[in-house]
Subunit: 395 residues, 2 copies
Amino acid sequence: MISQEMLRLGRQSSVIRAISEYGAKRKKEIGAENVFDFSLGNPSIPAPAAVRDTIVELCETLDPCKLHGYTSSAGNMEVREVIAESVRTRFHAPCEAGLIYMTCGAAASLTVALHALINPGEEVVVPSPFFPEYRVFAEKAGATLVDVPCHQPSFALNLEAMEKAISPKTKVVLLNSPNNPTGAVYSEESLSALADLLRKKEKEFGTEIYLLTDEPYRELYYGEGTVPWIPNLYERCLVGYSYSKSLSLPGERIGYLLVSPRCPNAQDVFAAVCGAGRSLGFVCAPSLWQLVVGKLNGLTSDVEEYRKNKDLLSSALSEIGYVITPPEGAFYLFVKSPEEDAYAFAERAKKYELLLVPADSFGVKGFVRLAYCVSRETIEKSIPAFRALMEEYKK
Amino acid sequence: MISQEMLRLGRQSSVIRAISEYGAKRKKEIGAENVFDFSLGNPSIPAPAAVRDTIVELCETLDPCKLHGYTSSAGNMEVREVIAESVRTRFHAPCEAGLIYMTCGAAASLTVALHALINPGEEVVVPSPFFPEYRVFAEKAGATLVDVPCHQPSFALNLEAMEKAISPKTKVVLLNSPNNPTGAVYSEESLSALADLLRKKEKEFGTEIYLLTDEPYRELYYGEGTVPWIPNLYERCLVGYSYSKSLSLPGERIGYLLVSPRCPNAQDVFAAVCGAGRSLGFVCAPSLWQLVVGKLNGLTSDVEEYRKNKDLLSSALSEIGYVITPPEGAFYLFVKSPEEDAYAFAERAKKYELLLVPADSFGVKGFVRLAYCVSRETIEKSIPAFRALMEEYKK
């Protein structure tokens, strides 16, 4: 018998994938312009032209053996220096190139971190709703995932619930802000309070609790300034990042995991990250892409386009009568289902060619997620469909 | 406490890395041209110009959202079709795109395969010497690694020893041919005999035994025709491949794992591979590189240059009096240490600025590995040093 758990995971059809496959079929039947597909978090804004120019320049000027050669497992040191310097400048925080591990994207950042930290039977606490793969990653690392519902309808952290959930087995608290699926951004106040809580619990239990933050949407923020830099609030912190959304490179698998130098055992944690990367089969992150993000550090795709989409879709849906969570970041709109069962709502929406994802698989009932990383035209044309859909509930 | 096993792996200094770091230091001290560094298996022949041209063409003609977007987890179907067709044509073997999983290189091919197949406590049997990371990958997947010494000095498979090693716990036999570190290529006869043995053992124990082949050096073969296509000899077979060596792209992390359609439970094995990839954090292989290898399938770097290096180095060392294993593939020369302790020999070689890797960490004592993927000039200039080194043993 092969691994039954891996077989189960490989066969398990994701709700998102099922909807997106239905969408592909429907687009063939009636034309892509007539299907309003809000199912996938795949950037619709192209990578900046500088990405192409940088690739071409690297290919034309660098010795191919260097350009395409192995970097050290943790990545090209010059690239890591660039990233460290940008963190120091932007967030007024200590950051060391020697504590940055370049990864094959956000998923790899999380798996290497979890395998580095977790001993079998420990717990990973996650505010819900959360990206469903977190459960898969945590369980593969030997942990049990403990989900802690956020306040509704703001989807802010519920600190009382967090306090109840944190146990002597808690090894990692995993945060995702700006959040997929809600678009919520956890406030600095709530994160400070969480940091205090974790320090208190560490003392109470005599344990170490690590805060692992998953930040692929860091640059997709619609508030003032930047989202809080969590290592400034809590010492035992690891930050996972990916350029998938900020530079519109989701398929290229490039990101990093950094260990905060304020973490008391930062060197050991970093060594364990290297050990985890090695044993999971991550040799180095793709070398060309390391160089590209090193050269283009700080650049993003035109994220203002997502803001315009958000504003248009939010105000239209509110005006029609949908209850939405005002998104502060990422490119998702979280909408309350007008009927209790979000699956039934999403099914009904299909009649109007609206493809929405019920948020049940994200760990919360009664909501749908709309990925508004689509063309402006799709949003504009979808509004009458949303209106007609709501009419059904007003009858 | 963080994971002590990951910490150990992260801290463990690789013998190869230690020598290569010594080499880097020494090159600074006395000039790179005076150090004969045979430590690293990093291709010295550049990627073909077509790689650069293809990248530039893709960047200039393809919609960036498509070029850099997510592919399906298993990879771009058109690329997988190209690979399947080439396997069918070249090896006269069945091959299905739907059973090919694009990976972030050879290491990822092996880890996803092992995690898909292994249940805790099972065994992975490996002919030795073998690439040391195999042990790390197998143990992380929950298996015990059982190594089976090859015949010396040919380093052919020892079937009697294999028969003794295969137990009811054997889930995977892992082969690497052309072999790192010996350069040996397992003959079709020995592989057929191994296949018979595995089928016999499966019956005897009522178990399933999978043959997993790691073939990054497939194209670096100095014999006639091609190396044997192992799925033609054994049904329950998975083949891992990487373009790292054949196209000189080691840092770019692109390869594949295929499940033979002759494997009775091929669909389940493939689903488990997808589940393993998902849970280890492999979302898709880098999308640009998938397209590049799809377009350039069948092309290799100028591997004749490695043949010339091999011929030059083999004949010179033999003439001096070293006992070598005539290499049939890869870019490694396996040399018997003139004294019992290969570490002592490698240490003594340093006096002559010769950097050789003792093969102890590959699981065999009394040999060193020379990676001859270096410049012709390095080989030519190294010969007097090898001669002087041997003089010490003739005194």
